[in-house]
């Protein structure tokens, strides 16, 4: 193996990581631009929102939001090692969790109860689709909190490293259109 082979292999890093790597730059300028943009957006959005909400009051309240589809990496434990498989799926945490559950050999007792994205102390997304945040700001601190059933908790009596929860983390944060700063898993 040569260094050139590694260089070539790095070239196949996943699209999101490549896209995000350079988006973190120019912090100060970005903070300034995003602050100004946020004020402008609020100034425009708030009046439009009120006008729209008055217009649509009582119409189509129960309409379902169409989910975007995309290529998602499902990580799974393959004999103690982490492996992945790319699948074309609806970008919803619930759907993705289901595929992950089956791929990792869990039965229906393994459930995803809650999927939340916390942005600087406020919950940005409490629904099961968290792929795209409309008010995403790269410099903000995002925490992904998921609550799953106890069936997924690692068996602490086994001394060998079990990568299952790592594959859950990689799958559930990997499909999001942004990089989260912190990830927590809770068992219920």
């Amino acid at each position: 193996m040569k260094a050139e082979d590694i260089l070539e292999a790095i070239g196949n890093a996943d699209d999101k990581s490549v896209k995000n790597a350079r988006e973190k730059g120019n912090k100060k300028l970005w903070i300034y631009i995003s602050s100004v943009a946020a004020i402008l957006v609020l100034a425009i959005i708030i009046p439009i929102y009120y006008i729209q909400s008055e217009k649509t009051l009582g119409e189509g309240e129960n309409e379902e939001i169409a989910l975007e589809w995309g290529e998602v990496y499902i990580y799974y434990s393959d004999g103690g090692r982490i492996a992945s498989e790319k699948q074309y799926l609806p970008l919803s945490s619930k759907e993705i969790f289901e595929v992950w559950r089956i791929k990792n050999g869990f039965g229906e007792e393994a459930k995803l109860y809650k999927f939340e994205i916390d942005n600087n102390g406020t919950t940005d997304c409490s629904e099961f689709s968290g792929f795209y945040l409309e008010n995403y700001t790269p410099e903000d601190y995002y925490i992904v909190n998921i609550t799953v059933s106890k069936a997924l908790e690692n068996d602490k009596s086994i001394a060998v490293y079990d990568p299952t929860l790592d594959t859950l983390k990689m799958t559930m944060t990997g499909y999001l259109d942004f990089e989260c700063d912190e990830y927590n898993v809770f068992f219920q």
């Binding site: 193996m1 260094a3 990581s17 995000n20």
Partner: protein, 184 residues
């Protein structure tokens, strides 16, 4: 213009697709090519070759992230061009430095060299990158994917030179260990 619309133009075989691509991503592609080749003319040529390659691959291919799709093609073409140029005279660009650094990740034991496929290596490296913490991952990709200079990475992340260098060194060590474990 939105990426989706640009991709639609490719599907319609409209030459406007190329214009819009150049307008939106010309500088991005050029910066990747220039980092590798360190030559304006060669970098321009790589970017033009990228447009041709994209024109020929969409359709049937439908990229999910157009920017990285273009970036990957530019990177591949530029590395190929660098290889051809290196046959005459090596040097120039960040790629020489990057390759010297990545040499550390190559296992040089006495064992018989294992057969490995490039596909397997590619998959293993992809997994390695996916598992890195966010900041390490970004710095690693800037250096070894975009081949940004250490100086520009320092500016981008507001880090000192020693911090960037030590972070890269630690990640290379991790990669080396990981590749040995994965039997490459």
């Amino acid at each position: 213009m939105e990426d989706k619309k640009i991709v639609e133009l490719y599907f319609q075989r409209s030459e406007k697709a190329l214009e819009e691509t150049a307008l939106k991503y010309g500088k991005y592609c050029f910066s990747i090519a220039y980092s590798i080749l360190n030559d304006n003319e060669d970098a321009e040529e790589s970017v033009n070759d990228t447009y041709l390659d994209v024109w020929n691959s969409i359709p049937p291919h439908k990229p999910s992230v157009l920017s990285t799709f273009l970036g990957k093609i530019t990177r591949r073409i530029s590395i190929d061009k660098w290889r051809k140029r290196a046959a005459d005279k090596r040097g120039g660009g960040e790629i020489s430095l990057v390759l010297d650094e990545l040499e550390e990740c190559v296992f040089k034991g006495d064992t018989v060299e294992e057969e490995y496929s490039k596909e397997k290596l590619s998959e293993a490296v992809k997994l390695f990158i996916a598992q890195l913490p966010k900041t390490e991952k970004n710095v690693f990709i800037c250096r070894y994917w975009y081949m940004d200079s250490v100086e520009s990475i320092c500016k981008r992340f507001s880090f000192s030179e020693s911090k960037v260098k030590s972070m890269l060194k630690r990640t290379r060590d991790k990669l080396r260990k990981y590749l040995v474990e994965e039997e490459f």
